[in-house]
């Protein structure tokens, strides 16, 4: 790799970083369920990433690298927090429980339902399913971000989607039934 390529790669990484705040925020929100914490994590990730952007020499690896930094910030947060903080953070999590089928025409309710279902997944599954579905990272990239084997990514994803499917699709059936009943009345 020439010096020119290296310089261009680092510059491109800086530019990509500037555009990454929302994506980081969404991912952090999916992982934590807490908007304020998600914003803090996104900011911390950006700060660290800006300092280290020169390390990214291959722009194609930028996404994986960026989310690995976010993952690192999140792990550090989990290690730092005190037991009493756990209860406090739970209060900020997205509401548990599903909205009724009648509300599902409202897109906000659909989002809330899906987010609540994702929030109830175990940490590892939640991270894998959000990295794959929200960001479209490949299994190999997710394995790199989380430092786990690709096989683990595949099995966690499988279990996560199975759990989500059983929770979300039951509600879909109720929704369809509810719509049918309304049209009969």
């Amino acid at each position: 790799m020439s010096v020119f390529d290296w310089f261009c790669g680092a510059r491109q990484a800086q530019q990509q970083l500037a555009e990454s705040r929302q994506r980081l925020y969404r991912m952090a929100l999916a992982w934590t369920g807490d908007p304020a914490l998600a914003d803090d994590l996104a900011q911390e990730t950006l700060t660290r990433a800006l300092q280290k952007a020169h390390q990214v020499r291959d722009p194609e690896r930028f996404n994986g690298w960026l989310f690995a930094v976010l993952h690192s910030c999140w792990r550090e947060h989990l290690r730092r927090r005190r037991p009493e903080q756990l209860d406090e953070e739970e209060k900020h999590r997205l509401p548990a429980g599903d909205p009724g089928p009648a509300q599902l025409r409202n897109s906000g309710q659909i989002s809330a339902l899906v987010r609540a279902a994702v929030a109830d997944l175990p940490d590892g599954q939640r991270q894998v399913v959000s990295l794959v579905d929200l960001e479209g990272l490949s299994y190999a990239e997710v394995a790199g971000v989380l430092s786990v084997p690709v096989g683990t990514v595949m099995s966690r994803l499988c279990r996560a989607r199975r759990a989500l499917q059983s929770r979300l699709l039951n509600l879909h059936q109720e929704t369809t039934e509810s719509a049918r009943l309304r049209s009969v009345k």
Binding site: R26, I110, V114, C158, L168
Partner: protein, 228 residues
């Protein structure tokens, strides 16, 4: 519902996520064509994946002063458009029949299911808009009796007499197919007109009060949904 082996589930996930190579993909697609249980599982997993993929579309980080108001408005508009897309897509997945390619097959029609299709376009790209018109034409050629196209957001241009790159083709479609209905989203028109721009639709285009409401109504009446 028969339960699937974990290996099959992993394979279907890999197919959905573009992780299978050519041979693996071909084998699985052939199995999907021949095994209804597998096809059902594919549809359910696809719905699940799509719901998760769009569940955070409207999540905006808290406002920070570095974003000027105009940019914030644009960001809000983009988020709103994404929510709209999600509703349409969700409703289509939930209430429409599922096929591997997302298009109702002639086999489904022959089994007595709905032969009414609504095609939804919201993309500004003229190539995608032309692809939507191609899709409409193909459906009509395949014998679907009721076909509707709904355009909103940036795709509204397709149906505007003053801006459409394909106005001639749209007119020809309308005159050649009396049962075809093309709808422009009333909310999008109102938003544009609030900004001081007058919207002129091609003759024969129907103004729907809202694209999403129209799509949801159709789906509740058993129409197929296709996002172009």
């Amino acid at each position: 519902m028969k339960s699937l082996s974990e290996l099959d589930e992993i394979s279907i996930n890999a197919l959905l996520d573009g992780e299978l190579d050519g041979d693996e993909r071909a084998i699985l697609l052939e199995r999907l064509a021949n095994e209804p249980e597998l096809r059902g599982a594919h549809s359910r997993l696809a719905i699940t994946r799509d719901l998760v993929a769009h569940a955070w579309d409207d999540a905006e980080p808290p406002y920070r002063e570095k974003y000027p108001p105009q940019r914030r408005r644009r960001r809000f508009a983009v988020a709103a458009a994404m929510i709209l897309l999600m509703v349409g897509f969700f409703a289509g997945r939930v209430m429409g029949p599922e096929t591997v390619v997302g298009v109702p097959s002639s086999a489904e029609t022959s089994q007595g299911q709905s032969d009414q299709v609504i095609v939804h376009i919201m993309d500004a790209d003229p190539a995608r808009q032309r692809a939507a018109l191609d899709r409409v034409e193909n459906l009509l050629a395949e014998g679907y009796h009721r076909v509707e196209l709904v355009a909103h957001s940036e795709a509204l241009d397709l149906l505007r007499s003053d801006r459409s790159a394909d106005a001639g083709r749209v007119r020809e479609l309308i005159s050649a197919h009396p049962d075809l209905r093309l709808f422009a989203c009333g909310n999008t028109i109102a938003r544009i007109e609030r900004q001081g721009e007058r919207v002129q639709l091609i003759e024969g285009i129907v103004r729907a009060s809202s694209a999403v409401d129209h799509i949801v109504d159709r789906l509740q009446n058993g129409w197929h949904y296709i996002k172009a």
